[in-house]
Symmetry: C2
Subunit: 191 residues, 2 copies
């Protein structure tokens, strides 16, 4: 079967990934450079790019119940706010896809699976934040939906190195391919 | 809101959890006794019980692609086989619910969410195997669907203690309540 990859960049928004984030993820800053390199690579190869972002209504009516109190105290990723926007370094270009979500997995309540199928994509290359939550739920769902799934290790961040590594092990154990950014170009060329 | 709990026991089938399992999970044997205690408790309180099992067609046409080769070599949880049956110690009683699944999460491609809603259940108490895969994907989906979600720590098993504990930490971090079997009865009484 012909392999057609797409890049999925998850939750790299000001409220989570900038230096003044309202809900900062400790590992976010370190993944910006690898993600810019992946973006350049996929743009150069004219392969599909999906910017996947969490966006909530200002009243919080679409927030998970287990985060409702947190949102009330400290609203995050509010539609139309600077905090909800993708960080400057990774700004989407025209022709790239923007998927908004209200849950951790990019497959829950979104058009992601339909869009990937429509584009004939059968390989997803995933980076962003944070490893145990939005990254991992998206990756396990991608595996359930039979995508060949690549986690870009150094382009994915968590609150601690230990949490990141424990999650990478679990993903590796179910058959997710683990690559570093530098290995993605040769791997794409080998498809 | 009135709290109505249900017990979800996941993948405690001969092929994964018996002493002669074809795909054994190292931590499975240790969780049998805690699960029998949880079963007794929920039966005594007449609360809903869901036995959730993986069942595949003999030709493997419903197996995840990333497990297709494994299934060909060593078919597991085949419909109608002894291996697909719930282990003797946890045999479902009439009136208890049996949910068959073909993916890790008990919410993917099943009636679980509809059944829970129909019964008015808003709290799920989860045990079984194995922590990083079917347990965790089910628990993250339960949280996404706004169920109050309890992981019964000593009634849940993985291949190693380290994998189990790393996953329990991630679940705790998103707000899953972690209890041991002995604490479930008093916790139910406090609802």
């Amino acid at each position: 079967m012909t392999r057609k990859p797409a890049l999925l960049i998850i939750d790299m928004q000001n409220d989570f990934a900038s230096t003044h984030a309202v809900l900062p993820v400790a590992g976010a800053q370190a993944v910006i450079t690898p993600l810019t390199q992946l973006l350049s690579l996929f743009r150069e190869k004219q392969l599909p790019i999906f910017h996947i972002v969490r966006v909530h209504e200002p009243d919080g009516s679409d927030v998970e119940w287990f985060r409702a109190e947190m949102f009330k105290d400290k609203p995050f990723a509010v539609r139309g706010s600077h905090g909800a926007a993708v960080i400057n370094e990774l700004t989407p270009l025209p022709g790239e896809h923007l998927i908004e979500k209200v849950r951790m997995s990019a497959f829950i309540g979104t058009t992601l699976d339909l869009m990937l199928r429509t584009l004939g994509v059968n390989v997803v290359v995933v980076g962003g934040i944070q490893t145990p939550n939005c990254i991992r739920t998206t990756i396990f769902d991608a595996m359930a939906y039979n995508y060949v799934t690549i986690l870009v290790d150094d382009a994915t961040g968590a609150q601690t190195k230990e949490i990141h590594e424990a999650n990478v092990l679990d993903m590796k154990n179910i058959g997710v391919k683990i690559l570093n950014t530098a290995d993605v170009a040769p791997w794409l060329d080998s498809l």
